[in-house]
């Protein structure tokens, strides 16, 4: 298909500013889950997805709030349309979440996400997951993921329930073996999700301190702490300040841009202060939140002067560009102009034009 228009500066991205500047968007965190009732293994399956839905209902503009049925299971056309036609994403990273103790076939597995990745390999990056409690068998599985899906990253859920286990720590001996294996296989991006656990721990399931040691021990790996370690943002900032290979994923923090913009301003300026503009990554956490409104509001966002003065940071167009796509592209080895050339004529562009 011939391009009838002059190519915009920066390439054919989904999002362009009012002045015509292209902004490449690499959504760092999306899901294609199946949380329908027939996939629930037990009550926890229902409670988990209902909690996700509360996140959506609480923080999204009204027009983006879904009915239960759709939220529990949406089809692939919905996902593709929301991310690549409406949502301004040029690419997106599937971050798997297994939760096999809650869902019979898993929640949002690499295998399931892989179906979409295979169909649109220029649009999606697919990550794997590992659980070091699986021992040697898990190491083999990691090799399989690497060969089958060319994974360059994994998402780890340290508080995940498994049998009688209370969750695990990145510093555990098996975890270190897995991280060594990742390094060997070229799986360089380690996304860490600290979350609630239903095992009644007396320790803090959200504690991020284990990241500190492994980041030092593995300087060639990148450790992306999802939702910037919230609700332990203070500890995350302390760790990230010291470890240059620690990054922050902005899912959960960014939705505040709509309901509590001043809190969002405080958080983003705090993060820019303790880390820097090169180590923050946009993620929608779709389908909890929709990238369309997140990106629109982020692009329009300005730091209130008093907050900017306090931290001395600024949220320029360049900084936003890095957060929305350039930083993730660097971590995942994406050549932005080349990638945009690959996708400029695909079905999603045709739908937008």
């Amino acid at each position: 298909m011939e391009q009838l228009y002059e190519k915009p500066k920066g390439g054919w991205t989904m999002y362009r500013t009012a002045d015509g500047e292209s902004i490449f968007v690499l959504d760092g965190h999306v899901h294609w889950w199946n949380a329908s009732p027939d996939n629930w293994r037990n009550r926890h399956g229902q409670e988990f997805i209902d909690c996700f839905h509360d996140y959506q209902k609480n923080l999204s503009p009204k027009a983006y709030i879904w009915e239960d049925e759709k939220f529990r299971q949406y089809d692939q056309e919905t996902l593709l349309h929301d991310l690549f036609v409406e949502g301004y994403d040029d690419m997106a990273i599937f971050q798997p979440t297994y939760l096999t103790e809650f869902y019979k076939a898993g929640f949002n597995t690499t295998e399931r996400d892989g179906e979409l990745w295979r169909q649109y390999p220029d649009r999606f990056l697919l990550n794997g997951a590992f659980d070091p409690r699986e021992g040697e068998a898990g190491i083999e599985y990691l090799h399989f993921l690497s060969e089958e899906y060319s994974i360059k990253g994994v998402k780890l859920y340290t508080a995940e329930w498994r049998g009688a286990s209370k969750g695990w720590d990145l510093r555990d001996p098996w975890s270190l073996r897995y991280l060594e294996t990742c390094e060997k296989l070229g799986i360089t991006n380690i996304h860490i999700h600290k979350g609630p656990t239903i095992k009644p721990l007396n320790m803090d399931a959200f504690d991020v301190h284990d990241v500190d040691e492994v980041a030092s021990a593995f300087p060639n790996l990148n450790f992306i702490v999802e939702h910037v370690g919230l609700p332990r943002l203070d500890d995350f900032c302390w760790i990230a300040q010291q470890e240059p290979n620690v990054y922050g994923g902005l899912a959960v923090a960014m939705p505040f841009i709509y309901t509590r913009p001043r809190y969002f301003a405080t958080i983003i300026s705090e993060l820019l202060f303790w880390l820097n503009e090169d180590r923050l990554l946009f993620g929608s956490d779709y389908a909890i939140w929709h990238p369309k409104w997140l990106i629109e509001k982020f692009m329009a966002f300005q730091l209130p002067q008093d907050i900017a003065d306090e931290t001395g940071v600024s949220l320029t167009l360049e900084v936003k560009r890095k957060i929305l796509g350039e930083n993730a592209a660097r971590l995942y080895g994406i050549d932005i102009p080349k990638q945009l050339e690959k996708i400029k004529n695909d079905r999603f562009h045709a739908q937008v034009a």
Binding site: T17, L201, L230, L233, I257, R262, W274, L303
Partner: protein, 273 residues
Amino acid sequence: MIVFTHRWPRGAGYVSEQENQVWAALDQVLDPELDESIVTLHFVERVCVEEPGSVAIFFRLPTYWCGANFTYLMVEDIYTHVRALAWVDQVHVYVQDHFAAEEISTAIEAGKNFAEAFPDNTGEEDVALQQLRLGFQKKSFLGRQERLLRHLLRHGWSPQRLATLTRDALATEVLTPMGQRLRDRYLALRDEIATVGQKPLAFVTLEGEAIAPQDFPHYLHEIRRSRVNIEFNTAFCEGLLQTRYGLSFDAEQSGIDGEKEESCESSATGRLS
């Protein structure tokens, strides 16, 4: 002295003096992570004084998944504070819509500690839970200290003055109503932390060290993280609670000095800062 800063949630009709006393006792119970009263946070749905000496408290949380450890601490504190009322013989705390509801309520009534409540945790001691509590007390301390320091700086206090102020002088200082609230909260927690409480200076680090006037800007940057973290968590949790239970209330927790949320959008030309 208990300051009644808000009206207890109540239905139509007469609220007894006994119920008032229960609410006042509950107001002493803090969420360890959010450093705020469970009454202010609207975690207490209802209080029932039924038979003489018997009190039922209906407790709720923002999510089904809220940590069993923190939930346990709050329920334990509820039990302790309400049981302390002279006329109370029995306390029943009903934790609603939570994965460990029954274990927690039953265990606390039976006087079991966390490890006994959850025997799956083999090898864990209750000491760990108390350490958790202390760890969050320290975070709360920094949050309260930061808010007070910012308030005073905004009201013209110099770092020099802050660095040399004694605890006793702070206690009697004339402040605005907001300043008084921030001061009283700060001192209440300050006195509970061993490394800090004994020190003569008003403002010291968690290790009990003085802060030189020239170090104040840097120190404030450090502790701002703690305050921002608590603030965000509170906003997030309160929002979820309202969504979950169909509530609508103005969050008591506001920004420093009651700042309002501002619009942070640029004008329509798309010019960006």
